[in-house]
Subunit: 340 residues, 3 copies
């Protein structure tokens, strides 16, 4: 793609000529080479680059050795451009080793890789890519243009929207973890016969798990992005455009509303509610049934950022308190001695 | 199943007539519809329902719009009834793509799905269901009526009891994590040549791992239930009827005795002992070689619940202490001034 | 192997005769039987044993019921001996069900199991063992004598050194977790088009994940050992001979230098640097961009061991502070009363 085409595509203002140079790839600022494009988020972070073109913020006034395009949000423009330049070629066709039930419906332009299993009455939407070793049980409905990476497993009765990405080793729809104690006999399984609904544009990282609802559904809203090794328990309700970083666990029936951001290794107890716009820092812990309001939260149990910082400062200040008490004791005894 | 049959099965007392209505499914109280049964744990939590029948506690005195059956433990009765109403139909037969070593022994009524591998001298007990993509190495002994979900992996020399459920992506018998430093050369692997024994009625969640013993065995006792993404290290000994929630990790050679309950994201150091009846809250940390007595434990490092609460209250009270010291200082100076 | 051969191999000094007895297996001190060898790390920990031979420290002066060999580092000698005695037999040949792209290059003495997929232009080095169900995408370069256990997944454009072990269910090269917010529309994926380089002698545990670089490479250095369920994010740089225990997560672009030891369930924020020789205790948390120097670190956020201990002692001492303030108050009022 020529630089002038990129300027058009991004809606930016082109500077520096050479607008006919062809851009083949995106690259990092420090390693990009000829025919590559990179981006600068803030003028002050700019270093030298060998890229042929840069996406930069508006009113960027550093002198540049290459063409550059001023745009409102350079990182965003860069990400969108990368989607165009680095489009993964889609495959189509069904590998002869795949085992597809005769009642399954396979859309147009679908790719089904080697050693894939697709169960009875399952549906694979147009353009969806199902890679090697994926196992799809009965009555699973997958939308269009999804990417299901190798060895992912989808249990029965699951609904997946369009453009969903499930990375390798993800498990969708395993039984939730619910048992009822039966005295000395141990535990009886509480029924785990619900479903999972994953809406459009969701991405779920490698080896993550989303359990099926026990009686109702576990639900993940449109545009939500989930990292690797995340655990979503039965009946959890996750809203739209939520970000969940790696190794976080969300317990049964908890609700995460739209536009929340949840760090890595966070633990959220059951039946909690995380209100829209809340940001929960890494390794934090939310107690069962807790309601977490909008704002930034840290620690176990979670506290608002300010309180958390204040308390940490106080704890660090205990040594000082000890000394103050010691001094005060001396002072009091001094005063007392004078009385005699 | 007719309502009067359910009353018989649960040993409960039927009220409200219509005992010939057929119950087809269990359901949640708020979403259950006609021909469904639900349950109420406590009279005061009762809401309206469209279910055709309810399991309720004894001496339940709310007025109900439907038939109801009084039982001692409604949730338990509900779980047991669900097992009867929602029995998953077993398959049998061996998929033609499965690769089964000629020396392996496959029981009666066993199902072996597509792309399953079963190694030399392995045994699959009667009625066991081995789903697509499961890999079973050599000398693995699996009991009767087990459910091994897709893409689970069992390394060699493992023993699994009856009615065990291993969810998708679980890995049983990978090498334990033991290395010996060899100066500048880095690490030499400590032998990981032991085994894993999983007793009857154990359930293990998706993508969980149970490592093989380094020299002896890693052991999981009868009736123990383990959630998703749990890590059980080499030579761990877990008793009977233990509950372990998601993302918890148990380090090498640690002993968890019977009837313990361990929350999610708990970390337990090596060579620790958790005594029978201990309950460890989520995200807690147990130090290596620590002995955790019966009772409830929280925090890192774990403290008895009372101590943990008291300490948290004290920490929150530091601000107050600071103020008290400030006031006390003023008071002392006031007293001192009067002396002059 | 005869005892006298073992004495030679380990370079140790043999005591107790019977040097012609054959040693067939290694064993634990308390369970080893005839024809087995075990080891004692410290004389004072010695218990009785039925082993036929022991590896013991130099100048060991306990009386032993069996032959023994004095060596400098008994546990290390034991581990090295176990590698010789318990060598897993290698297989070779390609299973007829494996799907190998015609452009892939398979070395001498390679084993490729059932239901394995190997993509275009991938290379499998001599003697490497690729077990059942492993999925290897296009342009993956695997060195010699590697062990890739069942159902592991390697995405495209990855480079693996010699003698690397990847346990079952590991996922190498899934997309890193990077998104750019696009106002109300939600998130656009930041390009995840980099690579993963894993050097020689690395071992990675079951169900662990190593994400590909977003633009550059994620790198794991020679001799590094990683436990189960560990998450290594995009562009992380891990040095040589690093130990990382189970369920630890390392965020994007973080650098772990040579010879670090990182406990289980540790969380390390993005762009942090852990300097060579640092030891980070289990469940610790390292903030983004933090530099962790050599030494032992604990807690969230991490503190040097001494500070951590001191602070914990202070927190436990708050009760005492409270009492001191109370007493001091009384004393001050006593002094004040006398003034009147």
């Amino acid at each position: 793609m020529e630089i002038k085409e990129i300027a058009e595509l991004t809606g930016g203002k082109l500077f520096g000529g050479n607008d006919g140079i062809e851009i083949l790839r995106v690259g990092a600022l420090d390693t990009a080479r000829e025919n590559e494009i990179s981006f600068v988020e803030k003028a002050e972070t700019f270093q030298i680059t060998d890229a042929s073109c840069l996406l930069v913020p508006e009113n960027f006034d550093a002198k540049l050795p290459c063409s550059y395009i001023e745009v409102k949000a350079p990182k965003l423009a860069f990400a969108k451009l990368a989607e165009v330049l680095h489009q993964t070629a889609k495959k189509s066709g069904v590998h002869p080793t795949a085992q597809i039930h005769e009642s399954a419906v396979i859309g147009q332009g679908v790719y089904v890789g080697a050693f894939v299993g697709i169960g009875a009455n399952s549906v694979i939407g147009d353009g969806t890519q199902v890679f090697d070793g994926v196992k799809i049980a009965d009555r699973v409905n997958i939308g269009a243009d999804c990417w299901i990476y190798p060895n992912a497993v989808l249990y029965e009765n699951i609904s997946i929207g369009d453009r969903v990405k499930l990375h390798a080793g993800t498990v969708i729809g395993a039984d939730g973890f619910g048992f009822v104690r039966d005295g000395e006999h141990g535990y009886v399984k509480f029924p785990q016969i619900g479903t999972v609904t994953i809406e459009d544009d969701v991405e779920i990282g490698a080896n993550s798990c989303v359990d099926r609802g026990s009686l109702g559904a576990t639900r993940i809203g449109t545009g939500t992005k989930i990292d690797n090794q995340v655990q979503i328990a039965h009946n959890v309700q996750i809203g739209k455009r939520v970000i969940i970083a790696a190794q976080t666990g969300i317990s049964g029936s908890t609700v995460i509303e739209d536009d929340c951001v949840i760090g890595g290794q966070v633990g959220i107890g059951d039946h909690a509610t995380v209100k829209s716009g809340a940001v929960i820092g890494s390794q934090a812990g939310v107690l069962p049934r807790k309601i977490v309001r909008a704002g930034v939260w840290l620690g176990t149990p979670v506290q608002p950022l300010d309180e958390y910082k204040r308390q940490n400062a106080h704890v660090k200040g205990i040594v000082r308190l000890k000394e103050e008490i010691k001094e005060l004791k001396k002072r009091v005894e001094g005063v007392a001695r004078k009385q005699k």
